[in-house]
Amino acid sequence: MAGWFGGIVNLNVLIGLAMGLNLVALGSSRLPMLIRTMSAQGVLLGVMPIWLASEFDWHVALVALATVLGKGLVIPGLLRRAMRAVSIEREVEPIVGFELSLLLGAGATIGAVAATRWLPLLPEHSGSLLVPGAMATVATGFILLVGRVKAISQVCGYLILENGIYLFGLLLITSTPLLVEAGVLLDVTVGVFVIGIIVDRIQRTFDSLDTRNLTALRE
């Protein structure tokens, strides 16, 4: 599992950090903090392919560079812009309280690590935290999507969920064509771009970003 770069920092330490960032995201009460956490996790995930690859490879380096730029700069930039444009308050409004979501996230993390023992993994993946990390991150994304009121914090939840799926994808990094990776990243960026516009629309129509307004029917 150890790649050409792996001697310096163990990959599991990086994944452990990403799992820690999950919990930071669940506990953060301010939108800028949530966005920063999400993008830090994206950057962390972006550099992971370099650790995984057995030798230097242009394909892998390009994927890493694109991910770091996309998740570290472009997407948080778009979100901050949307936040500034609609000039909303910076508090995250939880439906599921911070303590409870932190406990749920920790439970999901522990459960993911425990459940991995029973999964039929390839022998080279059995000692790695990749699969539990991916499951924990997906669960965190779900908790944020369900447990937060404002559209922007839900977008952050969606992006963390995507980070989890990306972690799963790392298992197959060498056999996935560059085009697929690039397509996924482009989709996510366009998605955030579109959501930025939607956020603006929601704000203009309802004077708030509370997505619960969208469920009420009106004439």
Binding site: F98, E99, L102, A106, V113
Partner: protein, 304 residues
């Protein structure tokens, strides 16, 4: 004869060193703020002054008002005497003494809360309620930390279980224990020792009506508890027990002073948290210790 000498020197360490720590914290705070600050030995002078004053007691208070501080101080001192001091080990060690230490700390808190409730003041009732409710989570974190050390070293005796964890577990445990140290000793993100607004005070409001020698005992007990937690944190992060006696003691002292410096810096650079956010921070400490426990457990079952 040697045993007696050992016991007395330990007692001297645990009785004379503690009041230095709050003095150092105040010096660090003054230094960061650009003030000259009170002398480092200020608490020693305060204790000497308080000891000569007489006790003022409320009409409604029962003798427990005076017994509380005495019981609390004795409990903390006994807990401290059970702690190993780096290379010189413990005076008294038996299987499961860590549980006794945890319960003695709980007993000390109970005695202090009882004594605060004896005054019949509603402010002190509020302070006690806060102290007790925060300590529920802080205690859970402390127990998780002790379990981690116990799982790592496969022992339930403080003399052998205080050894540093390898790798990431050590960082998690250190962060968790430092947060517990701040919470248990009523330092800044949880409580402000300098505040004088009864509505926001926690520990300080509990001792508002104490005076004279009982107050001196409470202050000394608080400093003693700070030293106890600093020693605990140092020994569960640094391998103090494994090196030569002199070097080990110097390392232990250096660790304790570094923690004191850290507390002072936290206190200078952070504001106190709002009450409703304190449980979140304490929960973080619990989770840090629980994850350290998991790392220790995984490490134990996978290899070595």
């Amino acid at each position: 004869m040697n045993d007696v000498l050992d016991f007395v020197s330990r007692l001297v360490w645990w009785l004379l060193l503690p009041p230095l720590l709050p003095g150092l914290i105040n010096k660090v705070k003054a230094w960061v703020a650009g003030r000259r600050g009170p002398p480092v030995l200020q608490l020693y002078y305060d204790l000497a002054r308080l000891w000569q004053k007489r006790v003022v007691q409320s009409h409604v208070a029962s003798p427990a008002f005076l017994a509380g501080p005495a019981v609390a101080w004795t409990a903390v001192l006994v807990a401290a005497m059970l702690m190993p001091l780096g290379p010189v080990g413990t005076a008294l060690s038996f299987r499961g003494d860590v549980v006794l230490v945890l319960y003695l700390l709980a007993l000390a808190r109970f005695a202090l809360v009882w004594s605060a409730m004896e005054t019949g003041s509603s402010f002190e009732g509020m302070g006690s309620a806060r102290e007790v409710s925060f300590s529920v989570l802080a205690e859970a974190a402390l127990i998780a930390a002790m379990l981690t050390l116990s799982v790592q070293t496969r022992s339930v005796s403080l003399a052998t279980m205080l050894a540093p964890l390898p790798g990431a577990g050590a960082v998690l445990l250190a962060a968790g224990l430092f947060t517990v140290l701040l919470a248990e000793n009523c330092r800044v993100p949880f409580d402000d020792p300098n505040t004088h607004l009864e509505l926001t005070m926690i520990h300080e409001v509990m001792v508002l009506d104490h005076s004279g020698p009982p107050l001196a005992v409470i202050l000394h007990g608080a400093a003693l508890k700070l030293l106890l937690f600093s020693v605990l944190l140092t020994e569960s992060v640094l391998p103090v027990g494994a090196i030569a006696p002199l070097g080990g003691m110097i390392l232990l002292l250096a660790g304790v002073f570094t923690i004191t410096l850290g507390v002072g810096l936290v206190e200078s650079l952070m504001a106190r948290f709002a009450f409703r956010r304190v449980p979140l921070l304490l929960l973080t400490a619990v989770l840090l210790c629980v994850f350290a426990l998991l790392v220790a457990w995984q490490g134990g079952s996978v290899g070595s």
